[in-house]
């Protein structure tokens, strides 16, 4: 075995374990916890460093070490020596390729502290996994290969770590053994990094020269770097100051997870206190409703508590029967959070499929899940030059600033003030994948007190005057399914019944309002969004709006549904098989599409997502247009 792997670590097992286990356990129980990540460019030695830390802190058992020794011979990158990276790169694909793909969480403890370290991948392709690791870290060790200096990924990871709010940074210039522990080269790299760091607002960081492979400056100061006067990495990790009670000093916030109702006599609100302190007797407020009450008990399995602080999972009961449910936020009565529906956010995109501006996504923030549409970015950031680059969308790994609009006002705080109420994930409605991570900067307008201009003439009174209930009859189906024909008949019949209607269809809209739009996915979405907005105004005017658009995407139809008042969106699925529609081909469009003359044609080279639960389902193989129209009227006006 080589000299490096047999070298005794300076971290010996705590003597108390053998002599007085009870004393040891009490001591261990009160150790503080540091969560950190290693990050930086590909092959800079992140996994190797963590393997080394685990090994030196005696966290590797004999059987694990034997397995790694055997693996090192098979996959190792260090000849006959132990490849420490194999202690962390646990997936078969990682071992075969010698790279890290996903975050590994490892645990170790020294006499002073306990650690959870997340080893993150350097490859740009897997940046989302680095962000995953960074989101829960108190400190980041940014590695730099001494031979290569500061690289794009070094900058990207530094930028992301800073953006996500990690304020303790260690810059470990690694592989010092390969440059003969050259002091000048080290200084040059640190100077280059400092320049970049300052420009992104990083105020300070702790640089150190190390070799994860040889063990220099890892657990003790190395003789190879006599010019280095700072601490070893482990000394630094053990002593870096953590403000673990900082969240308690902030205002009280508890996002409600679950309403606890074991029987009629008990109604409690369960959640994790995200900041502050609450006590029985405190006057509290529930957001967004703004209702107030008083805390009567803080209930836990171990008995009622005299107070609950940030970081505790508890159940509160109130003196009054106020409405409070999952997604609401409980605060002290005189320290409420803001409520808004439009925000400027930082957004990190994590999906191979680029952001589609205007499309509706799910957003999960705290315990709330809401529909939101994301605007085209104001700009994206070039991590090398830090330039703000104009962009129409966000591609995989892009970092940008944009506005989002939620479909209802939500309680929130700026990410900088409260991560739990300012950080969110973006979920694709079709695939359910987590496609982005966002951080709220501020709300664009406070809807807390400012409501929509309350009009003296209400939408209800306008509809009433017309002796009808306003609504949107939304026809959807393939081209040639019969949407326009049936919609026209329905409108005629309604007119005969003295109803006030308006028909919006592809032709009258495409030639005016939307003449700037084509047929790409993004344009189709914008087309429907605008139609939705117009339809909404018309329902406010008390009209029955009839629309006939292919509207192929489920999420856009749902977007319109969410825009109009509940119950006013009637989705009517004109169901015709592609075969039948193509057979009819009244306008000859299918033929053109098949010949490749028409691009993005629904059903041919662009998908049609059929409604799953339309209010009305018309099977055109069984009904004539006239029959279909009668059926629709019968359903609308019973």
């Amino acid at each position: 075995m080589s000299e490096t792997t047999t070298k005794e670590s300076s971290y010996v097992t705590d003597e108390l374990i053998a002599s007085d286990i009870d004393a040891y356990l009490i001591k261990h129980q009160h150790k503080s916890l540091l969560r950190f990540i290693t990050c930086g460019s590909v092959d800079d030695g992140k996994s190797t460093l963590i393997g080394r830390l685990l090994y030196d802190s005696k966290m590797i058992f004999e059987d694990q070490l034997a397995a790694v020794e055997a693996d090192s011979k098979k996959f190792g990158t260090q000849g006959q020596n132990i490849d420490f990276a194999l202690l962390v790169d646990g997936l078969a694909a990682e071992r075969e390729q010698g790279i890290t793909i996903d975050v590994a969480y490892r645990f170790f403890a020294t006499e002073k502290r306990k650690f959870i370290v997340a080893d993150t991948p350097g490859h740009e392709q897997y940046t989302r996994n680095m962000v995953t690791g960074a989101s829960t870290a108190d400190l980041a060790v940014i590695l730099i290969d001494a031979r290569k200096g500061v690289l794009t990924q070094t900058r990207r990871h530094s930028y992301l770590a800073h953006l996500i709010g990690i304020r303790n940074l260690v810059v470990a210039v690694n592989k010092m053994d390969l440059i003969g522990y050259d002091h000048d080269r080290y200084d040059a790299i640190v100077a280059e990094y400092r320049q970049f760091a300052t420009s992104i607002g990083i105020k300070n960081f702790t640089p150190m020269p190390i070799s994860g492979f040889k063990g220099d400056n890892i657990t003790s100061k190395s003789e190879n770097t006599p010019w280095y006067t700072g601490p070893s990495l482990m000394q630094h990790l053990e002593s870096v100051e953590l403000d673990v009670t900082a969240d308690q000093a902030k205002k009280f916030r508890l996002p409600v997870q679950w309403v606890n109702r074991p029987n009629l006599d008990f109604r409690g609100f369960s959640g994790l206190v995200s900041s502050g302190v609450v006590k029985p007797g405190d006057a509290v407020r529930v957001l967004p409703s703004g209702k107030t009450s008083t805390v009567t008990r803080i209930v836990t399995y171990d008995g009622d508590l005299p107070q609950a602080v940030a970081g505790q999972s508890v159940t509160l009961t109130f003196a009054d029967e106020v409405d409070c449910s999952r997604g609401d936020v409980i605060t002290l009565a005189d320290e409420p959070v803001q409520v808004a529906d439009q925000f400027e956010v930082n957004l990190v995109w994590m999906s191979d499929e680029a952001l589609i501006p205007g499309r509706s996504y799910w957003i999960k923030i705290g315990t709330q899940l809401v529909s939101a549409s994301i605007h085209a970015p104001k700009y994206t950031v070039n991590v090398n030059t830090l330039e703000h680059v104009a962009a129409k969308t966000l591609e995989l790994n892009a970092i940008g600033v944009t506005n989002i609009v939620t479909d209802k006002p939500i309680p929130f705080e700026a990410y900088a003030d409260n991560r739990a109420l300012g950080g969110f994930i973006v979920i694709d409605k079709m695939t359910n994948a987590t496609v982005g991570a966002g951080m709220i900067n501020f709300s664009l307008r406070r809807s807390q007190n400012v409501h929509w201009q309350a009009l003296d003439v209400s939408r209800e009174s306008r509809a009433k005057l017309k002796n009808q209930q306003a609504g949107v009859l939304w026809f959807t189906g393939l081209s040639g399914a019969g949407k326009s024909t049936i919609a026209n008949l329905v409108e005629k019949k309604l007119l005969r019944m003295n109803r006030h209607t308006f028909l919006l269809d592809g032709d009258n809209v495409r030639h005016g309002l939307n003449k700037d739009l084509g047929f790409t996915d993004a344009d189709r979405i914008e087309n429907i969004r605008r139609v939705g907005e117009v339809a909404k105004l018309m329902t406010d005017a008390g009209l029955i709006v009839v629309t006939a658009f292919i509207s192929p995407f489920r999420s856009e139809r749902e977007l319109v549904r969410s825009m109009v008042a509940p119950g006013e969106f009637i989705e009517i699925f004109i169901d015709t098989s592609l075969e039948d529609a193509e057979k009819r081909d009244v306008k000859g469009l299918y033929k053109k599409a098949r010949a490749g003359e028409l691009k993005n044609f629904t059903g041919i080279d662009s998908p049609y997502e059929a409604p799953q639960q339309p209010e009305i389902h018309i099977d055109t193989s069984k009904l004539t247009a006239e029959e279909a129209a009668d059926l629709i009227i019968a359903k609308l006006i019973p």
């Binding site: 097992t13 374990i17 286990i21 009870d22 040891y24 356990l25 261990h28 129980q29 009160h30 058992f61 004999e62 059987d63 694990q64 397995a67 693996d71 202690l87 962390v88 997936l91 078969a92 694909a93 071992r95 996903d102 590994a104 969480y105 490892r106 645990f107 306990k114 989302r128 996994n129 962000v131 995953t132 989101s135 673990v244 009670t245 308690q248 997870q257 679950w258 109702r261 369960s270 959640g271 994790l272 302190v277 007797g281 209930v299 399995y301 602080v309 970081g311 505790q312 999972s313 799910w362 923030i365 705290g366 315990t367 991560r419 950080g423 994930i425 979920i427 359910n432 987590t434 991570a437």
Partner: protein, 306 residues
């Protein structure tokens, strides 16, 4: 009332407890039909205890599922029934009928035993009841591919895990949305270590199977492991007699597959002391990890093992 609030420093275990409770409540709020896999081991004991805390004063709003192999230690069956009763939760016991019919056992069928009773049994049970989320007591410190797994881990309709396309998991926000037929395995004690588990059991006085403590028990040697003879189904070699030894277990599974350690540790602090001074990992006593080489656990999980 006192205007000045004393700041409280939560211990590491208090934070872990709060995190696990938060995870369990998210699952109950966001999935349709959750279940807790209950294997009666120490991790299950902690998980069940946390569930009781999470929903108190309600009983945990999901059943316990024991995927049984018929080869667990007798003491495990006893504790299982007792804990189900005490917690007021429904206990579902599932035994793969095919494995039962074929008489699959650890002596004659090697890896097939785990495969049919546990992996297949679990898939069948989840499908039978239509559970869309299952809590499991796996920890990241147990094994290298577990160290890579998310807290919310998705399984396709045929229960496969795809380690290369895990969803990003940021802060403590969990995306529980899934398509019909897909399900989630949720690991609320992902961030606990073996030491945390023992220490918590100690502090909270959680009932565990007595086999975790040393006592004189009948043993035989098999493939380098010390196996305890728990019933008369054990096939002896001609002339073989079990030897009485003071042993205990670090992990419990099927009795013919669980390797014991010789020990005198009769109390929890003694068990913890031995654990901290030992030089081998807890999974070393498991036959199951050894049958398929380096990436065995990862492969098993891809096939639907927990």
């Amino acid at each position: 009332m006192d205007a000045v609030t004393d700041t409280v420093t939560l211990t590491h275990l208090q934070r872990l407890e709060a995190e696990s409770i938060h995870i369990m409540r998210e699952v109950v709020a966001e999935t349709e039909k959750p279940v807790m896999l209950y294997s009666v081991g120490k991790d299950s004991a902690v998980m069940l205890h946390l569930a009781r805390k999470a929903f108190y004063p309600s009983p945990p709003p999901f059943p316990l599922l024991h995927v049984d192999t018929t080869w667990k230690f007798k003491a495990m069956y006893e504790l299982r029934d007792k804990m189900a009763q005490e917690s007021g939760m429904e206990l579902l016991v599932y035994q793969n009928p095919e494995a039962k019919a074929k008489g699959i056992n650890p002596f004659d069928h090697g890896p097939l035993h785990t495969d049919m009773w546990k992996t297949e049994g679990l898939k069948q049970a989840l499908d039978k009841y239509g559970f869309d989320a299952a809590f499991g007591g796996a920890r990241r410190d147990e094994e290298k591919s577990r160290a890579k797994e998310r807290i919310f881990s998705f399984r396709s309709t045929n229960h496969r895990w795809d380690p290369k396309s895990q969803r990003p998991e940021l802060w403590n926000i969990y995306n529980a949305r899934k398509a019909k037929g897909e399900s989630i395995r949720v690991f609320p004690i992902s961030n606990w270590t073996e030491l945390d588990i023992w220490q918590y059991i100690h502090l909270e006085n959680i009932p565990i199977v007595p086999l975790y403590f040393a006592a004189k028990r009948p043993t035989v040697q098999r493939d380098g492991l010390t196996i305890m003879v728990d019933d008369d189904r054990f096939p002896f070699a001609p002339g073989e007699v079990p030897e009485m030894k003071s042993i205990r277990f670090r992990t419990l599974g099927c009795y013919p597959l669980s390797g014991a350690v010789e020990s005198e540790a009769k109390t929890l602090p003694e068990v913890i002391q031995e654990m901290l001074l030992t030089t081998t990992s807890e999974r070393q006593g498991r036959v199951i990890d050894k049958d398929a080489g380096g990436a065995s656990m990862e492969k098993k999980k891809q096939e639907g093992y927990f």
